[in-house]
């Protein structure tokens, strides 16, 4: 039992990890075929994870309905929507009023996707614009040096990345330095500098840190030093 819970996952992690390395360092036909099979396995396992997710979702909402927890009525909506979309996508016939079956254009599934899923998701995302505007108005204050720098950068980016920024820049006096023409206010130049210099420098530092940590964690997992992914907290 301990072998199944402890040693076997470590062996699987070791073999799988080493196999991905082998492909890059020994690019033979054998290693390529091995990795091919391995990737096929990964795709199948991920497919099962999706099924697990669906079961978990249904279990959560059924429990919520059974316990009559606050907002349980919405769980009925979730389950009904899930059943309807699944039936529309899987049942092998065209529903009354629709020319096609399954996921074809003109099917019930496609209609539900286009006229319920797209508008609902778009609505959820668009609401962000209202909250961001309100939050920026209330909380974006030049309280310290750092906050002021952030505020100035944000203003330049917000104006510089929309056409009105170009209009403002073009309306300011122009002058020549060498062969190049500059405007007194040049949002395109400023946003380009912000993105290419401080942003890229900071992001590159963060990425290097993240990827070095990922390599370290991967080595620890492959050699069985890191075992938290197996649960149990050790």
């Amino acid at each position: 039992m301990i072998f199944l819970k402890r040693q076997l996952p470590i062996i699987i992690a070791f073999v799988a990890g080493i196999m991905m390395w082998i492909r890059y360092y020994i690019p033979s036909e054998v290693s390529t075929n091995l990795v091919d099979g391995y990737l096929e396995w990964v795709r199948i396992i991920v497919g099962f994870a999706a099924i697990l997710g669906i079961l978990s979702l249904l279990q959560h909402h059924m429990l919520k309905i059974r316990m009559k927890r606050p907002g349980f009525a919405f769980s009925y909506v979730t389950i009904a929507a899930f059943i309807m979309m699944t039936a529309a996508g899987f049942l092998p016939f065209a529903f009354p009023g629709f020319a096609e079956k399954n996921m074809e254009t003109g099917s019930l599934f496609n209609w539900l996707y286009e006229y319920t899923f797209i508008p609902m998701q778009a609505t959820m995302f668009s609401v962000l614009a209202f909250f961001i505007a309100s939050a920026a108005f209330r909380a974006f204050r030049a309280r310290s040096m750092e906050a002021t720098l952030l505020l100035v950068a944000a203003i330049i980016m917000m104006v510089g990345r929309v056409p009105i920024g170009d209009l403002i820049s073009n309306a300011t006096p122009a002058f020549m330095i060498g062969q190049n023409e500059y405007h007194l206010i040049d949002f395109e130049e400023w946003t380009g500098w912000l993105l290419n210099v401080p942003n890229a420098a900071a992001k590159r530092g963060i990425l290097l840190g993240v990827y070095l940590s990922q390599i370290a964690i991967s080595i620890r997992i492959i050699f069985g030093i890191e075992r938290t992914y197996m649960g149990g907290g050790d």
Partner: protein
């Protein structure tokens, strides 16, 4: 209540109403502000345009309806550009909410250009497993996707008689709302030496500049502005794209007026709120001193 106190205690519903009006107004009555182009988007356009006619382009549309306004116009323009150049398009999505958006776009644009499914383009559909899928594509496209989105076997398609894997493609474009750009760079573009560009949401564009500077990405298109820039470049070079197919290009350009208005409103409101904040602080300090 004086003006400063009024502004600092402004009901957020008023801000919501202003944003709603500023979004709706330019969409109903367009201001037609000219959209300038940036070097990052011009690089994508030039790279795709410079490929010989009939090249193979792998397009990954890794987003779902929440990012539709920002990224769907780019997909329309990219497809139009590819078909304009007679490129062969291999399109797929790594996001479960993406297939119907891709289906809409590719069916509509291919129909307008009279392109044939299986010969000029193939929609491979959705498969879970991000890196595993991209890694699989570097070995075999038809092995990873034995059937396309429409359940037709891919191995028999004319488009896959000369293209076996991603390394046979001439270009990769990832239109991404999440972190799939890194996956495409790490598992397809860099190891197989296939040039690549990315179109992503405005909020994530800044994160890809190190890859752009390193030359791992030819260009970056950020958000609706990037899509609008691509629209402009496409319509400038191929004017029939706009005239012959109104939905193919130009959607993002229309959205830029609304975005300009809202951005300007947010900037002005932040400046106003900060001025009021400093006046209120100064008043408080004076009151404390006199008390």
């Amino acid at each position: 209540m004086d003006f400063v106190t009024l502004i600092l205690n402004l009901d957020r519903k008023i801000i919501f109403a202003c944003v709603a009006v500023l979004v709706a107004w330019p969409l109903i009555w367009p201001l037609s502000m000219p959209v300038g182009t940036t070097p990052e988007v011009r690089s994508i356009f030039s790279a795709v345009d410079a490929l010989p006619n009939g090249s193979d382009i792998m397009i990954a549309a890794d987003y779902d309806p929440s990012s539709k306004p920002e990224l769907q116009p780019f997909l329309y323009s990219m497809l139009a550009h590819c078909f304009e150049k007679d490129h062969k398009v291999h399109i797929l999505t790594l996001w479960p909410g993406g297939p119907a958006l891709v289906q809409q776009a590719v069916e509509e644009v291919s129909k307008q250009y009279g392109k044939t499914n299986g010969t000029d383009w193939c929609f491979l559909g959705y498969k879970p497993g991000n890196a595993a899928v991209v890694g699989g594509l570097t070995n075999s496209i038809t092995g990873t996707y034995p059937t396309d989105f429409y359940n037709r076997p891919t191995a028999n398609m004319p488009i896959y008689q000369r293209v076996q894997s991603v390394k046979d493609c001439d270009y990769i474009v990832d239109i991404a709302a999440g972190a799939t750009v890194e996956v495409w760079i790490a598992f397809a573009s860099a190891p197989e030496n296939v040039p690549m560009s990315a179109a992503c949401t405005a909020v994530s564009a800044a994160g890809y500049y190190p890859y752009y500077q390193a030359g791992q990405l030819d260009g970056i298109s950020g958000g609706m502005k990037g899509s609008a820039e691509y629209d402009v470049l496409l319509m400038d070079k191929y004017p029939n794209v706009q005239g012959g197919a109104p939905r193919v290009a130009g959607n993002a350009v229309k959205g830029m007026d609304a975005q300009s208005a809202v951005h300007l409103f947010i900037v002005l409101s932040i400046i106003l709120a900060n001025i009021c904040y400093f006046i209120a602080n100064k008043r408080q300090r004076e009151e404390r001193r006199t008390a």
